[in-house]
């Protein structure tokens, strides 16, 4: 199997956008399915320490979604609308219910690279730099991840 390029991330300096790019060993059709089939989606979206429960899922243009992440009895819910769903592109909104005023507009592109490979590009637009940075900081994933704990340690002991 050929090496897979690591995830690239870019926080745009001029607009409150986060861009993420990654290549996958899969066809655009498979990538699309992994994003629209709730059973497949639940398998990869949350960290392994979290359980993802899909509560609502209508992956069609104009449909909506909602899922709940659970860890040690603590629940965090996310919801949004599928604005446009088509084989090469998904446009959707994303809200963490703990912060209902914050809405991100996400666009995902599935670019066919041939030979069964696909480049996934995602772009999340939020309403201010402040919320963009808060999103980055929260890691969008719920709970304090190991990386975050590590950073806190590094900050505490002066490594950073």
């Amino acid at each position: 199997m050929s090496a897979i390029a690591e995830t690239r991330i870019e926080a745009d300096p001029n607009v409150p956008i986060i861009r993420i790019t990654r290549e996958f060993a899969g066809t655009p059709e498979q990538l699309f399915r992994a994003h629209t089939d709730p059973k497949l989606f639940a398998q990869w979206i949350g960290p392994s320490s979290l359980e993802t429960r899909i509560e609502e899922w209508d992956a069609r243009s104009g449909g909506s979604w909602r899922f709940v992440s659970t860890r040690d009895g603590e629940e965090h819910a996310f919801r949004g609308c599928f604005h446009e769903v088509r084989p090469d592109r998904i446009v959707q909104t994303f809200t963490y219910e703990g912060d209902p005023d914050g809405v991100a507009l996400e666009t995902l592109w599935f670019e066919d690279l041939g030979s069964g490979r696909t480049r996934l590009r995602t772009q999340s637009l939020v309403d201010s730099f402040e919320s963009r940075d808060a999103w980055l900081k929260s890691g969008m994933e719920v709970g304090v991840g190991e990386g975050y704990a590590k950073l806190e340690e590094m900050l505490a002991d002066g490594t950073v």
Binding site: G26, A34, W44, S48, S128, G139, E141, G147
Partner: protein, 119 residues
């Protein structure tokens, strides 16, 4: 300590302050030099600088007047580390997606073989 990050990001949430930081990245500058391109009062410039100073983004080392404003590079190392953490989370998520795709590939290959043997 996390508050420190919040202060840094709040300080950088303002376009004038971001512009000041960009210009200071090219080298130290006096307050007057910094204020030149903006249509705001010197007092407002001092206010912005105070926010940046309180967040530890810039400093004005003691010395003869006019004291130059200096960018604190360590602050950006901290932010880089922090964006790197976010990137790693995305990478971890995408590795789980890799596994899902590998499963799909496997299932589809074996289905094709079954179809092939029937034909």
């Amino acid at each position: 300590m996390v508050d420190e990050l919040s202060r840094i990001f709040a300080a950088l949430a303002d376009p004038t302050r971001r512009d000041m930081v960009t210009r200071l990245a090219a080298g130290d500058a006096t307050v007057n030099q910094l204020a030149e391109p903006y249509q705001i009062s010197l007092q407002a410039v001092y206010k912005h600088l105070k926010v940046l100073e309180d967040a530890g983004v810039v400093s004005r080392p003691p010395g003869p007047q006019p004291r130059p404003v200096r960018l604190e590079a360590e602050v950006f190392d901290l932010m880089d580390k922090w964006i790197e953490r976010y990137r790693r989370q995305a990478e971890e998520r995408y590795r789980r997606l890799d596994a899902v795709l590998a499963q799909l590939n496997e299932t589809e290959t074996s289905n094709d073989e079954q179809k092939g043997s029937v034909a």
